[in-house]
């Protein structure tokens, strides 16, 4: 009932072009500002983290998703609800580790890399690294320390883009967020 009444807070959809182009301009700028690709990767991850810790609030307010009881449930929510909501795509989930603490998100088309080609001089640049930061930051706010990293990238000639997610530990309530 109250969900229905909440129409006003429903967010607007835009074409992803503006987002994609803006992101591209940002990466270009960072490549100018920093000398090594590693620094750019780090910076993108940090910015993503800052976005993630804020984005989670927007997500929880709009998605009606409760606390996840295990990592599998988390994976489902990320792929089927969150990615769909924010980027309009639904990655598939594969390659579960036997312990159930690692999985892969397979993105067949990554909206961030439309119109992008990596020059040879930037072979170690992880172009969409912002996404890893977003995932890490958002999950940290729901008491999950994870590691997210790209292991395959269509920009580097792979068939698909793959983000490997690894559950590190559950963050206890009394620890300040972000403590290692």
């Amino acid at each position: 009932m109250s969900r229905q009444a909440n129409r006003g807070t429903e967010s607007k959809k835009m074409s992803s072009e503006l987002f994609t182009l803006t992101y591209g301009a940002l990466v270009t700028q960072l490549c100018k500002d920093y000398e090594s690709d590693e620094d750019v990767n780090k910076q993108l991850d940090r910015m993503g983290y800052n976005i993630g810790v804020r984005l989670i609030e927007d997500f929880l307010a709009r998605s009606n998703v409760g606390r996840c009881h295990d990592f599998r449930e988390t994976a489902d929510v990320i792929a089927k609800v969150a990615f769909k909501m924010y980027l309009g795509i639904t990655p598939s989930i594969t390659n579960w580790s036997p312990a159930g603490d690692e999985f892969s998100l397979i993105l067949e088309n990554n909206p961030l890399v439309d119109f992008v080609e990596l020059p040879d001089s930037h072979s170690s640049l992880i172009y969409s690294n912002l996404l890893c930061g977003v995932l890490r930051g958002a999950l940290e706010m729901v008491q999950m320390a994870v590691e997210a990293k790209f292991v395959q990238d269509t920009l580097k000639g792979d068939g698909v883009t793959e983000i490997r997610m690894r559950f590190l530990r559950r963050i206890e309530d009394n620890l300040p967020a972000g403590e290692e």
């Binding site: 967010s11 607007k12 959809k13 835009m14 074409s15 992803s16 072009e17 503006l18 987002f19 994609t20 182009l21 803006t22 992101y23 591209g24 301009a25 940002l26 270009t28 700028q29 100018k32 500002d33 920093y34 000398e35 090594s36 620094d39 780090k42 910076q43 910015m47 800052n50 976005i51 804020r54 984005l55 927007d58 909501m85 924010y86 980027l87 309009g88 909206p111 119109f115 912002l130």
Partner: protein, 173 residues
């Protein structure tokens, strides 16, 4: 389709990252000279032009990807109308609230609820923080006009959040 929130957050992060004067943490060598350093501009001016430059590139590309027939626009006023309607709709899902001109190449575009300022609150409390959230959009307008074949100078002003005005001055060549 991407979500508008995503763009807003990304924009906020860009401002946070690129506005800081002399943002240069952890970069390897100290003797690197960029054009901005050479020009000896103050940090603030540099930040403004960096964000504006980003906007310009995005505006240029966006101008190319919007409907073909608009590229045939040759009248100044039509180009401005295009910015107020199509470009604004593509970016912010709404139209500009007002367009005024002195018929001598100066235009004032007014948005009474500029989305990038909307979440900052209303009134004048954070008015000093406002300019940095406008640089990108100024560049964007300028870039889109550039694609349409007009040279312009775009500035922005805010008197009370979240309303703001963009002033476009056409450059005669």
């Amino acid at each position: 389709m991407a979500d508008a929130v995503l763009f807003e957050f990304l924009h906020t992060e860009m401002v946070a990252e690129l506005w800081a004067p002399d943002a240069d943490p952890g970069s390897g060598s100290a003797d690197r000279i960029t054009p901005q350093h050479k020009a000896g501009l103050s940090g603030k001016k540099k930040s403004w032009s960096v964000l504006e430059g980003l906007g310009f590139r995005v505006g240029q590309a966006l101008g190319e990807r919007l409907p073909r027939e608009t590229l045939a626009v040759r009248e100044e006023l039509d180009a401005l109308k295009f910015l107020c309607k199509d470009l604004w709709a593509a970016m912010f899902q709404k139209h500009m609230d007002g367009l005024r001109t002195n018929h001598q190449g100066t235009y004032v575009l007014q948005d009474n609820n500029f989305p990038l300022l909307l979440t900052m609150g209303s009134g004048s409390q954070y008015i000093e923080e406002a300019p940095k959230f406008l640089a990108f959009t100024c560049g964007l307008l300028c870039g889109a006009l550039h694609t349409l074949g007009f040279r312009s100078l775009v500035t922005a002003s805010v008197t009370a959040l979240p309303a703001c005005k963009f002033q476009v001055v056409m450059q005669k060549s």
